[in-house]
Each structure stands twice: as structure tokens, then as C-alpha cells.
């Protein structure tokens, strides 16, 4: 199951934002993205390396304003 793949990879679900978040990897997946993509796609995205900035996996790319607000909330 997709949820198990994310939990196993160290992601935690944030109910307020409906995001799977991994603070160490600095990556967040929206619930909609998880629902709309296959397990294989998800696993591939989880394996992707990331720099120091947050990476958001959304169906619709978040705008700068949304990114800034989410980064502020996520710390």
C-alpha cells in the first residue's frame, strides 16, 4: 500500500495539511499526489535525492507564495 511505502520511508502524515512529510529528507507529498500516482511512481520519487530546500510533490505545482507558507510552517 502507498501509505505503508511512505511510512516505511520515514514519512509522517500531517492531518492539518494533508501532507506526508519527511523533515530529514525535506520532502512532502500531498494526499492528492499520493492518490493519483502509482506505487512505483511514488517509490521513485521517494528515492530522488534532494538538496537543502524543501521539495513538494503536488499535482499542481505550488506557487512561490504557497511554498513560502509551507516552508514557514514546516520549519
Amino acid at each position: 500500500m502507498k501509505k505503508d511505502i511512505l511510512l516505511k520511508a520515514g514519512y509522517k502524515y500531517d492531518f492539518n495539511r494533508a501532507l506526508y512529510i519527511n523533515r530529514d529528507a525535506k520532502k512532502a507529498f500531498s494526499l492528492e499526489f499520493v492518490d493519483d500516482n502509482s506505487e512505483g511512481e511514488l517509490a521513485q520519487r521517494i528515492r530522488e535525492t534532494n538538496g537543502t530546500a524543501w521539495k513538494f510533490y503536488f499535482n499542481a505545482d505550488p506557487s512561490e507564495g504557497v511554498r513560502r507558507e509551507l516552508e514557514r510552517v514546516l520549519g
Binding site: 492539518n16 492528492e32 503536488f58 506557487s63 507564495g65 509551507l70
Partner: protein, 210 residues
């Protein structure tokens, strides 16, 4: 002057829409009361049917719209694209009914009265239908404000009123409690127990031909 936030713009829209939303709620409640009148008059002394309407309050409407956005956040750069009119339940009517056999009858009657309304049932954890729910427009009253009606087993419906009032309305931070695994399991247990109570009650009535 600071720029208006998306929430501010939606509050303005809410105030502008409110009279129309109220008219839709009154229309739908009146129509449902009228359609269910024959059932109401035919109830046995141990059966009940209650019709309630409500207008979604401003902050609940804004939160509901926010929950539809990815990341549950409004994009300030798209502020003009958001509209409370995209919500299916600005006006709502709930028909509480006991016991369950009357629910099916009521659902059939209302379904025939609102044939174009879109079904969107309330589902339980295992995918079973807990309550039939529909949304659509009250023609002749508003072509833009959508309304919703649901037909709910009375015991479960009254539990939801308390549960939703306690968990969601007073303090959004309580959402963590509502979403905790333990509370979800307990909620399922309560819903199951109440449904079971109704089923056993009904079979008892049928066996004894009360």
C-alpha cells in the same frame, strides 16, 4: 492598507451570498417536509422523523474550501479563483429517522422528488453506506448556491451532532484527537453499536408484530 487575504475575500463573498443561501435552506427544508409528510403521518408510535436545516457558517465554509486545496492552503496569487459557490453544502437539510426501514422509504421518496441531484453517500470505514446524501440546486430559488440533503439513521445522526460539535467546531486543534487511531476506532465502534441497536430493535418489532 494591508492587502486582503483570500480568507477576507471569501468572508465578503459569504456576506453577499448569505440571504440567498438562507432562501435555499428554507426552500429545501419546506420541500422535504412536504414530501415526507405522508411518511410522518403514517409513523408508528415508536418511530420518529425529524427534519432540520442549517446554513453553513462562514468560517466552516472557508475551512471546507481550504480542505479542498493541496496542502490545505490558499494560494494568494490565485485569490480571485476561489469561490464558496464551489461548495456543495452551503445550505443543508438533514432528515433524522428511526428506525432504518423508514430511512429506505424516505430516501426513495426524496430521490424521486430530486431526480437530478448527485448522490454522495456518507461511507463508513469499510465502505458501507451510513447515510444517503445528495447535492444539487433548488430550481426557481438559486442557480448558483448548491444545497445538500442527507437521510440519516437517527441514533447515528445524533451521535454525529455531538461528536462533530465536540471535535471540529470549537477548536480546529482538536482535529488531531479526532484523527487519532484510537478515536477513529471508537467512532466506528459507536456507529456499529448504534446501527446494530436499530437492526435488533427492528427484528424484535417484526417478530412481535407491534
Amino acid at each position: 492598507m494591508p492587502e486582503r487575504t483570500v480568507e477576507d475575500l471569501l468572508r465578503v463573498q459569504y456576506v453577499q451570498l448569505l440571504p440567498e443561501v438562507r432562501r435555499v435552506a428554507w426552500q429545501l427544508e419546506t420541500e422535504i417536509r412536504f414530501r415526507t409528510l405522508p411518511i410522518l403521518h403514517g409513523l408508528n408510535h415508536y418511530e420518529q422523523l425529524i427534519v432540520k436545516s442549517r446554513v453553513k457558517d462562514c468560517e466552516s465554509a472557508i475551512r471546507a474550501l481550504q480542505r479542498r486545496q493541496e496542502g490545505r492552503i490558499f494560494d494568494p496569487q490565485r485569490s480571485m479563483e476561489y469561490s464558496l459557490l464551489s461548495l456543495p453544502d452551503l445550505a443543508g437539510v438533514r432528515v433524522l429517522i428511526f428506525p432504518r426501514s423508514r430511512l429506505l422509504e424516505t430516501d426513495r421518496v426524496l430521490n424521486a422528488s430530486f431526480p437530478d441531484w448527485k448522490p454522495d453517500p456518507v461511507l463508513g470505514e469499510n465502505g458501507t453506506v451510513l447515510a444517503p446524501k445528495y447535492n444539487g440546486y433548488c430550481s426557481g430559488v438559486s442557480e448558483k448556491v448548491k444545497a445538500e440533503y442527507q437521510v440519516v439513521p437517527m441514533l447515528v445522526g445524533l451521535f454525529w451532532e455531538v461528536e462533530h460539535g465536540a471535535m471540529y467546531k470549537p477548536d480546529p486543534s482538536l482535529v488531531d484527537i479526532a484523527n487519532s487511531r484510537e478515536m477513529k476506532l471508537l467512532k466506528n465502534d459507536v456507529e456499529f453499536a448504534l446501527s446494530r441497536f436499530e437492526a435488533v430493535f427492528e427484528s424484535f418489532v417484526a417478530e412481535n408484530e407491534i
